[in-house]
């Protein structure tokens, strides 16, 4: 075997990737050729040196404990996931509510007092000074804290029980919250926000305190938007919250945060669900994104209310409340 032929196989030989026969042929050549032998030696020396460099890196002493704890928490959280109650879930699908009809990314922020991730990989609970409500009331400040704490986890917020894509996560949330109507969160990619994670989160300790939470991340500046949908809860209507709700189809808040930008929050009730959008984005942008969808929803609410009134008036039994 000549060097010109052997050269083709030297690296593969050095990496142990040749067949037995090819190995033997090359070994015979290497016994006689110092140049090719040197190439093999240096190749293997480089490999060993890099391997030693990798192996010598110190591992943080607490890493195993933190990973083990995270896995344990996930295990425990998965065991305590809320069972679907059969309740009807907020549905974007109903008439105007389809995201495609509304060029907005409504971020639904589940206001959760105390904040609880079903699958925490970071902090198991948000401690922003907000006590966890037990009566189904959640303030805008608590919603904001929930958004900030969960969004800060990045992809670590992703729930183990939920798919990691927008459409599939929406379907899974639908099933978890009732499944009778489909949750169809909007695609915000045209606004520069991509789906990042989805989870089920406990908003409050009261009955029906868990809802779906989808986080979108900005491609450019690190901003996050949260989209929450949950069984209807109170608190956002309360004037004692920071910021004052204005008389519009949605409740609007702008909350100070430790970051460079305030948190904008919009919320509304839709049948027996509450929808909240919030993020460290400009409140006017958020209103622009959600305004159209909310207006459409308000129109739908009006139609639904009138239909119910007609049904009741004609002896029907529908007695749903709408915002």
């Amino acid at each position: 075997m000549k060097c010109t032929d052997a050269r083709k196989f030297l690296y593969a030989f050095a990496d142990g990737q040749l067949s037995v026969r090819a190995n033997c042929e090359l070994l015979d050549h290497l016994k006689m050729c110092s140049s090719c032998s040197r190439v093999v030696d240096e190749h293997q020396a480089l490999r060993s040196a890099i391997g030693r460099s990798v192996a010598s890196a110190p591992v943080p002493s607490g890493l195993r404990a933190s990973v083990t704890a995270a896995l344990s928490s996930e295990q425990d959280s998965a065991a305590s996931v809320i069972a679907a109650s059969g309740r009807r879930v907020f549905s974007w699908k109903s008439s105007f509510l389809r995201p495609r009809a509304i060029a907005t990314a409504a971020v639904l922020a589940l206001a959760i007092t105390g904040t609880w991730l079903i699958r925490p990989s970071g902090p198991a609970a948000v401690d922003g000074g907000a006590a966890r409500a037990v009566d189904g009331r959640v303030t805008a400040a608590q919603m904001s804290e929930l958004h900030l704490s969960h969004a800060a986890l990045g992809r670590g917020h992703q729930g183990a029980e939920l798919p990691a894509t927008l459409g599939e996560a929406a379907g899974a949330i639908t099933r978890r919250l009732g499944g009778k109507a489909e949750v169809s969160p909007p695609n915000l990619s045209s606004f520069g926000f991509d789906f990042e994670s989805a989870n089920l989160c406990r908003i409050h300790d009261g009955e029906r305190g868990v809802g779906g939470h989808i986080v979108y991340a900005s491609r450019s500046g690190g901003e996050k938007i949260s989209f929450f949908v949950a069984p209807k809860f109170a608190g956002l209507d309360q004037p004692s919250d920071p910021g004052s709700p204005i008389e519009r189809p949605f409740m609007e808040y702008e909350l100070a945060s430790a970051g460079s930008r305030n948190i904008a929050l919009l919320a509304w009730h839709q049948e027996d669900m509450t929808v909240v959008c919030c993020g460290d984005v400009n409140v006017d942008d958020l209103k622009l994104w959600v305004g159209a969808i909310r207006t459409a929803m308000a129109d739908f609410d009006g139609q639904l209310r009138r239909a119910r009134e007609e049904m009741i008036g004609s002896g029907g039994v529908c007695n749903h409340g709408a915002m």
Binding site: S34, R38, R47, V54, A55, A57, V67, A70, A160
Partner: protein, 196 residues
């Protein structure tokens, strides 16, 4: 900690924790990001436990694959299939005995002792794609096929990236060798064509 498979699965994956972290550290160059990435890898592994078949795919390559995907996913650079695999042959990876090689030491071989920092910097200077293949290669116990599985590419692509990564490393390290004075003059040794 409760685990799927009666405790075996967690033991199976946690025994590779140090390796996963170290590779993550070499990929990211940042301790905090490496820790975060490592945790993400294990959470993903935990969630995907049902899809893992030990007999088909060893735990270590599987974890490294998750690491690779997580790393590039964070960078927004999910790899999609091989490049040029079908056009590659061993001729493309022919060892170059002339210009490509770094200057040899006079006594007949490059000694990497004492080049730890330079080696670290040279690895960090590689592009993420080359850095990841070099790290997997350097672990020493993954075949080209297994490396291809981790990276999600064909063996030919593995070989191509390894070849180019080594070229870049040799260039960088050759420079360090010159600075250290551990080089011979380019023509200090004759090379003989040997036929066996």
């Amino acid at each position: 900690m409760g685990t799927r498979g009666g405790g075996t699965f967690s033991e199976l994956i946690l025994c590779h924790l140090d390796l996963v972290y170290r590779v993550a550290l070499k990929l990211t160059g940042d301790e905090h990001e490496a820790q975060d990435l490592t945790q993400e890898v294990y959470l993903r592994a935990h969630r995907s436990a049902d899809k893992f078949e030990l007999r088909e795919y060893g735990a270590k390559p599987w974890l490294l694959k998750i690491l690779h995907n997580a790393y590039f996913s964070r960078r927004g650079q999910m790899r999609r299939g091989p490049a040029m695999a079908s056009d590659l042959s061993l001729d493309d990876f022919e060892a170059e005995l002339e210009a490509e090689r770094h200057p040899p030491v006079v006594d007949g071989g490059m000694n990497w002792e004492g080049f730890d920092e330079e080696l670290k910097q040279a690895i960090e200077s590689l592009s993420p794609e080359y850095r990841s293949v070099i790290l997997l290669w350097a672990l020493g116990d993954l075949s080209y096929k297994e490396i291809g599985r981790v990276l999600g590419c064909a063996i030919g692509t593995v070989m191509s990236r390894l070849h180019r990564a080594r070229q870049q490393l040799n260039q960088a390290l050759g420079g360090y060798a010159e600075e250290r004075g551990v080089k011979a003059s380019p023509k200090s040794e004759g090379r003989s064509e040997t036929t066996s």
